[in-house]
Symmetry: C2
Subunit: 105 residues, 2 copies
Amino acid sequence: MKEAKEDRLKLAGWRVGGAGDFLDLTPEEAAFAELKLALAFYLRELRGERGWTQSQVARRLRSSQSRVAKMEAADPSVSLDLLVRSLLALGASRADVGRVIVRAA
Amino acid sequence: MKEAKEDRLKLAGWRVGGAGDFLDLTPEEAAFAELKLALAFYLRELRGERGWTQSQVARRLRSSQSRVAKMEAADPSVSLDLLVRSLLALGASRADVGRVIVRAA
DNA sequence: GCTCTGTATGTCAGTTGTGACATATGCTGT
DNA sequence: ACAGCATATGTCACAACTGACATACAGAGC
């Protein structure tokens, strides 16, 4: 009954291996950006699995649709705290979060 | 040559399995606290391995000794962002951070 | 006892992150 | 073309975090 296959994680313009390859980032900054990006994509994936809209997720997180959109886009204005808390609130386990980080691009 | 065995991670008053067992935290809050605590301990461990003082670490992070102390204590006033950025700056890899989270208490 | 070094705790002004709102873009069905 | 829904982007008042400083505490060596 749940047709949660509709989204497919656009993958818009990510042709390169990691995040921040074409910007002059220090190794730490690059690693941090990759980490954040991986969690952002995972958030979108989780939401897709659940078949929810950004607005539904926002309600669940007591946040707003626009902030959810920014989270999934790994916008500079979203913190790791918010990202991780959101994943946990969507049902991911602490270990799930860790695994996503380990396997990040 | 490196006698980095001297610290031993006090483990002060942590007798229970996870963090926040005796406080009324929701599962997400508890998972988040555990995650943060695990990273905090890892920071202390890394610093111990390197044989550095909090002040030395602070200089390296362009922060202050007091903030480093708070990081290691998983003080509510420190963000995951700061914790993770600091670990990366101390030489931990993205995967190291992920593994620590996976294995958190 | 005192001093020195390292760590912990409290406070605060400046910076950054947050939710909310408005608005824009994109897509699907009609 | 238009309406309706989902998502994206910009802005802003308010809340949270940050580095710095002062100060307190703990232990080692004298």
